[in-house]
């Protein structure tokens, strides 16, 4: 089959699913709607596999499938094609999106079984996949932006899916508005880039990037990339625009898994990686990115420790892990960022789905203080969750280990990195191990605190199968990117990942190879600290559940600060939103009502007076109007001719 057909199927299959489910949005049968949606995404997945297989069979140089369906717009020099590209980077993304997407769709059939709006739900989900594919496949920033906005819309729709609950509707709104701030910056970034380069096409931008010499600190390149990065912080929930993501947990859990863990939130990382030759030319931006990423990683992890809602913990964990990815990007480790993106997609989707399974089995209970000891009720969920846990805390040879340690190694050694960034990363990893172990302990292990009228049960096969598949991926996905230092002890296992991405990644200026001892030491550090913190957490929450309370008691101010998420939401309200409202109110009263309104009334009276004079012209007589047009044309034409 030819590529354009495959590409069309890949992109349009979810859209067709959306149309079908959207047309029958009033239907209640979850099985039918779910099957349609799942099949649609599965078709997409198959065509993605076929495309990637074709891509692999191509020679390494020029490994790229580009399809342009039509010219979208052509305004003078500004030409945009509806063009789509599968290359090394987007190949990974489409596989993750459609693959994980299929599993999550499958899971949703079980999870959303009883919901009334199930057809609508699947329609949105399919629309999301469609938009996500547009985002990752688009060959220019503008096409990407269409998908970018589209996923924002779907995210909004799905967070507020149970919109009759006011709080959930508000959460959707929050996500949307926060994202808009980022999107505005994204648009500005596009403008800057278009003014500088005269194109928005990725390959052209990347090719042109080295030709623009950056003379000033805030030159066009830095400015454009910074704007784009602000856009990315909105979509990928980084400081300062991360606040929407924890609230986004109001949506159905599979949505959290798909959109707010595996795919959409990684769009920012993906965008930066796609433009990496551009970003690498702007070291100042890179520094900002790295700092923000590291800060987010630590910051979100500390909040994660104190949360009691199973999904909130995971949400902060997601923010933290995204911080890792940005840290990686910021130090120039684009490959590592993509690697972590993929492994994170697997284990975080797994954990979210696992939490969904728990919530489902606990009859919509989300508070981990009311769980505990679920191991014996939900064996499969437990086992798979353990796999995810091991992966995320960086247990050696699990997928999270490889990706996280690669990031840390780069953060330490890259000329753009520094030991401080590395230290922040390690602290983040330690904290991650702590709160994830806490989550495990409180949910699955220890004594059961389940209230007697709740009877936890294992979920049906349709929900556990995706869990199992994702668990397998979480364990083994890391093996395609084994670093040399470990690989040479495993029978010289090559680093497939690096080979694959190599042509797309621009080298870090001033990069020297890490010597093996350093790498071993770094690895040992992070693994050791994580292990210690995991054991501590285990001790705290399984062996002696009283200790953490005592500790919290003893450092109450700090605990409260962290437990209330550093009062960031409140700070935003107190520092930005309320003053803004007050300012608006004052300006409204003094300037608007007392000055402008009076002016406008006066002007209005004047205009009305004139209008009543001119009104005599507007007779309703169509032919008179036509006559005016005629006279106008005569005047205009005579002007043109006489000129």
């Amino acid at each position: 089959m030819n590529h354009s057909l495959l590409m069309a199927i890949l992109i349009l299959a979810p859209f067709v699913g959306f149309l079908i489910n959207g047309a029958r949005y009033k239907k209640h049968s979850g099985n039918v709607a779910g099957s349609i949606a799942t099949v649609a995404v599965a078709i997409s997945f198959i065509s993605a596999i076929l495309l990637v297989v074709d891509l692999i069979s191509m020679p390494a140089e020029g490994r790229r499938i580009a399809v342009s369906f039509f010219e979208w717009m052509a305004i003078d020099k500004f030409k945009v094609n509806a063009g789509f590209v599968v290359d090394q980077i987007s190949a990974i993304m489409i596989l993750v999106i459609t693959g994980v997407g299929t599993l999550i769709h499958l899971f949703s059939i079980g999870y959303m079984h009883h919901d009334k709006g199930v057809a609508k739900y699947f329609a949105y989900l399919n629309l999301f996949i469609f938009n996500m594919l547009l985002l990752v496949l688009g060959d220019s920033l503008l096409v990407m932006f269409v998908g970018w906005e589209g996923v924002g819309l779907c995210s909004y729709l799905l967070i507020g899916f149970w919109f009759t609950d006011k709080e959930k509707a508000a959460a959707g709104m929050k996500a949307f508005i926060t994202n808009r701030i980022g999107d505005a910056a994204f648009l500005l970034g596009m403008f800057v880039l278009f003014i500088t380069f005269g194109t928005l096409n990725f390959s052209e931008l990347n090719a042109l990037a080295p030709t623009v010499a950056e003379s000033t600190w805030l030159g066009a390149l830095t400015l454009g990339t910074l704007f784009l990065f602000i856009g990315a912080t909105g979509k990928s929930a980084q400081i300062p625009l991360y606040v929407w993501l924890p609230d986004a947990m109001a949506g159905p859990t599979p949505v959290s898994a798909l959109i707010h863990a595996a795919t959409m939130v990684t769009a920012g990382v993906y965008m930066i990686v796609r433009l990496n030759p551009l970003f690498i030319m702007a070291p100042n931006t890179m520094m900002v990115i790295a700092i923000i990423g590291a800060a987010t990683a630590v910051f979100a992890a500390t909040i994660g420790i104190t949360q009691n809602d199973i999904k909130k913990v995971l949400a902060y964990s997601t923010v933290s892990q995204l911080g890792y990815m940005f840290l990686a990007v910021g130090v120039g480790a684009f490959g590592a960022a993509m690697f972590h993106l993929m492994t994170h997609a697997f284990f975080k989707a797994l954990m979210f789905l696992g939490s969904g399974s728990v919530i489902h089995g606990m009859h919509e209970e989300q508070d981990i203080r009311k769980m505990g000891g679920l191991k014996k009720y939900m064996p499969i969920t437990h086992i798979t969750f353990v796999m995810g846990w091991l992966a995320i805390i960086g247990t050696p040879l699990f997928s999270g280990f490889f990706s996280k340690d690669e990031i840390l190694a780069y953060a330490f050694h890259s000329p753009m990195g520094s030991p401080i960034l590395w230290a922040a990363g390690v602290v983040g990893a330690t904290l991650t191990a702590f709160y994830m172990t806490r989550l495990m302990a409180l949910t699955f292990w220890g004594k059961s605190r389940v209230s007697p009228d709740v009877h936890p049960h294992e979920s049906s096969a349709i929900m556990t199968i995706p869990l199992i598949i994702l668990a397998i991926l979480s364990v083994f996905a890391g093996w395609i990117g084994v670093p040399h230092v470990i690989g040479e002890h495993l029978g010289h296992m090559p680093n497939f990942w690096e080979h694959w991405l190599h042509p797309m990644i621009s080298p870090i200026p001033g990069w020297t190879a890490i010597d093996h001892t350093t790498e071993w030491v770094l690895m040992g550090c992070s693994v050791g600290l994580a292990t210690v913190s995991a054991i501590v957490a285990y001790q705290f929450y399984v062996k002696s559940p009283e200790t953490p309370k005592k500790i919290a008691e003893s450092i109450k101010p700090v605990y409260n600060l962290v437990n209330n998420k550093y009062f960031v939401d409140e700070a935003y309200f107190g520092g930005i939103i309320n003053p803004l409202i007050n300012l608006s109110k004052n300006t409204w009263y003094y300037i608007d009502v007392n000055f402008i309104d009076k002016m406008t009334f006066w002007a209005g009276d004047l205009v009305r007076g004139m209008g009543s004079f001119v009104r005599s012209v507007q007779t309703g007589n169509m032919q008179q109007y036509a006559m005016y047009i005629g006279i106008g044309v005569v005047v205009a034409l005579s002007f043109v001719i006489m000129r």
């Binding site: 309703g620 007589n621 169509m622 032919q623 036509a626």
Partner: protein
């Protein structure tokens, strides 16, 4: 007398002819009172535009003009259908086709 103008037919001839037809149609729109004749005059104007499209298409050697004619025809037919539907609906109710009567429809 220069007979070149008569024997050598070129783009100008078609354009002038179309312009005259257009103006005739416009005059119809301006001076006639019957809604249906008004609509017919509009069709005449559209037709004259089609003529310019085709003429340019031939003399510039590109086919896009033909496509435009196609589209214009569709639009014209749609316009006639809706316009006449309105006229029929008003005629059935008020037994009136004078355009001045239609002023009563305002606000």
């Amino acid at each position: 007398m220069n007979t070149e103008f008569i024997t050598n037919i070129g783009l100008t001839h078609y354009l002038v002819l179309a312009a005259l037809l257009f103006v005739i149609g416009m005059a119809g729109v301006l001076v006639r009172r019957n809604v249906i004749v008004l609509l017919m005059s509009i069709e005449l104007m559209l037709n004259s535009v089609n003529l310019t499209f085709v003429a340019f298409s031939k003399y510039l050697g590109i086919l896009d003009g033909h496509i435009m004619v196609f589209f214009v025809m569709t639009i014209a037919a749609a316009e006639a259908a809706v316009g006449l539907a309105l006229a029929v609906s008003i005629f059935k109710r008020f037994n009136e086709v004078n355009i001045r009567f239609f002023e009563h429809l305002k606000g």
